[in-house]
């Protein structure tokens, strides 16, 4: 056998997904680069090697596909993303359009609206007291503020979640439920495309800003539609899942929640820590363009490399006491949004959305408890909760 460290761990198995952090520890113990025999892919799972792979786009390409499928070897299931699944120079063109539409400058104008929506939704949840946190709070909030900002009409927004499952489900190996799901919801992609047309998007929203770039000739009309669609797939489930996991972490660490309640201005940092500690994007893929070497391991050309961001975030060589959830931690070098040229273009949006949410929560809620078993959703691509039973005690008025 070739000299390489191998493992039988399967990152898409229910056991791995139920407790990825134990599996990450095992992987980090095995070595810097491990070959996962179940799927014939390489993986990296330390902070330094993830950084190395993600910042070297000339070796580690995105054109081979954002998921486990290797577009260099098999045909993509749908047209590749024109931002996530391309390399420079194509990437730079689409990326700059989105960077502008999601910049601090634009976000400053959105903030007030987020604050109002967050305060109202937290108040409603607080008044109920006992809630199922995902369906009654951490899902409705992003599903309101995100499409509102893009300029999407109100009706049938649950379709966005279905579409998200379609997109993120495709990151893993083909499984029977996925085929069935695609069949059951085969009308949804059409619905999405119709909502992403110029005429369907409200004036003043981010969607129209992207079409403005088409007017300036930076992208085509068709590309504008595709970028709006990318927004809708990349921006909803990710924030739903990350806000949900952050709320669970706070509820499970009452000492940390007490700090936030005493000083709601810690909200942004609390979410930053949750993005490191337990977040929606656990892993991303690259495909090698040439033979290369990572930490002394030779990797051939056209090979898939899985980068475990969730493991890099728990690497003791970079983060002190990595398994502790500490909302006052000063994070140097966040990797939870990826890094390098494909690093999340929506990260400032995500931070703002979450900051407003947790600030409103801390201002209104005295204590939060998990009252029953929480459940994870098991489809590949993202980590998130489907169930989070909570008891909220509002502050005395």
């Amino acid at each position: 056998m070739p000299d390489r460290v191998t493992s039988q761990l399967d990152p898409f198995s229910p056991e791995f997904r139920a407790d990825p952090y134990a599996a990450y520890e095992e992987l980090r113990g095995l070595g810097k680069v491990v070959y996962l025999e179940k799927h014939d892919i390489w993986c990296v799972h330390h902070y330094d090697t993830c950084q190395q792979v993600l910042t070297d786009y000339e070796t580690f390409s995105n054109a081979g596909g954002g998921g486990i499928k290797n577009y260099f070897k098999e045909k993509p299931w749908r047209k590749p993303s024109i931002i996530l699944e391309v390399d420079p120079p194509e990437h730079t063109r689409t990326r700059t359009v989105l960077s502008r539409a999601l910049s601090p400058r634009v976000l400053r104008q959105i903030r007030d609206r987020f604050e109002v929506d967050a305060a109202r939704m937290v108040a409603e949840a607080g008044a109920k007291g006992e809630i199922e946190g995902v369906s009654e709070l951490t899902r409705p909030y992003p599903l309101k503020v995100f499409p509102d900002s893009v300029g999407l009409a109100d009706a049938d927004r649950d379709n966005l979640l279905i579409y998200g499952t379609m997109v993120f489900g495709a990151f893993g190996p083909t499984v029977p439920w996925y085929e069935e799901y695609m069949e059951t919801h085969k009308d949804v992609p059409e619905w999405i495309i119709a909502r992403c047309q110029r005429d369907a998007l409200a004036e003043g929203g981010i969607g129209q800003m992207i079409y403005a770039a088409a007017d300036e000739g930076k992208i085509t009309e068709e590309e504008a539609m595709m970028l709006v669609r990318t927004f809708l797939s990349a921006g909803v489930d990710t924030t739903v899942d990350s806000i949900g996991l952050c709320l669970r972490a706070l509820a499970e660490h009452p000492d940390q929640y007490a700090k936030l309640r005493e000083d709601p201005s810690l909200a942004r940092n609390a979410f930053e820590e949750a993005t490191r500690y337990d977040s929606s994007s656990q892993s991303i893929f690259r495909t090698t363009l040439t033979e290369c070497e990572v930490a002394g391991q030779k990797i051939g050309a056209n090979e898939k490399v899985m980068c475990f961001l969730g493991s890099a975030s728990r690497d003791g060589a970079h983060f002190e006491d990595p398994d502790a959830f500490d909302i006052t931690r000063k994070i140097k070098g966040q990797i939870g949004y990826g890094v390098g040229i494909h690093g999340c273009v929506g990260q400032m949006f995500a931070r703002l959305e979450a900051e407003c949410f947790f600030q409103a929560f801390a201002q209104q809620i005295e204590s939060v408890e998990v009252t029953g078993p929480t459940e994870l959703r098991m489809h590949p691509g993202l980590r998130g909760l489907t169930k989070l039973p909570l008891k909220l005690t509002p502050k005395a008025a």
Binding site: R100, S103, P104, R105, K332, Y337, G343, M348
Partner: protein, 107 residues
């Protein structure tokens, strides 16, 4: 070690020794200088490391890259001719004495 002076929006000055090869953003974040966030860790994804270089004429700073240029157009506080993303200012011996003013807000 070369020194960089960070001038907060209220005028307070902080002088840091910055190792060659470290970015002006990283040095500030590591020493908890308020006013530079560097939330994306230097990937030119966030624009929260915006600074105004006060004495740019005294140095040959690296050119503003294409992506940096785009991001500078969208910072929370206005872009000025001396605007830079401090994660792109990698320290050299020649940059000793650099002075950067911090904007009022980064997001």
């Amino acid at each position: 070690m070369p020194k960089v002076t960070y001038i907060a929006h209220d005028g307070t000055e902080t002088v840091l020794e910055v190792a060659v090869g470290t970015s002006v953003m990283e040095a500030a974040v590591m020493s908890n200088v308020d006013g530079i966030m560097g939330e994306c860790g230097g990937s030119i994804n966030c624009a929260t490391c915006h600074v105004y270089v006060a004495n740019a004429d005294s140095f040959t700073l690296p050119e503003v890259g294409a992506v940096e240029d785009e991001m500078l157009d969208a910072t929370a506080c206005d872009r000025l001719p001396e605007s830079r993303l401090s994660c792109q200012l990698i320290m050299t011996e020649e940059m000793d004495g650099l002075r950067v003013r911090l904007p009022e807000a980064q997001y």
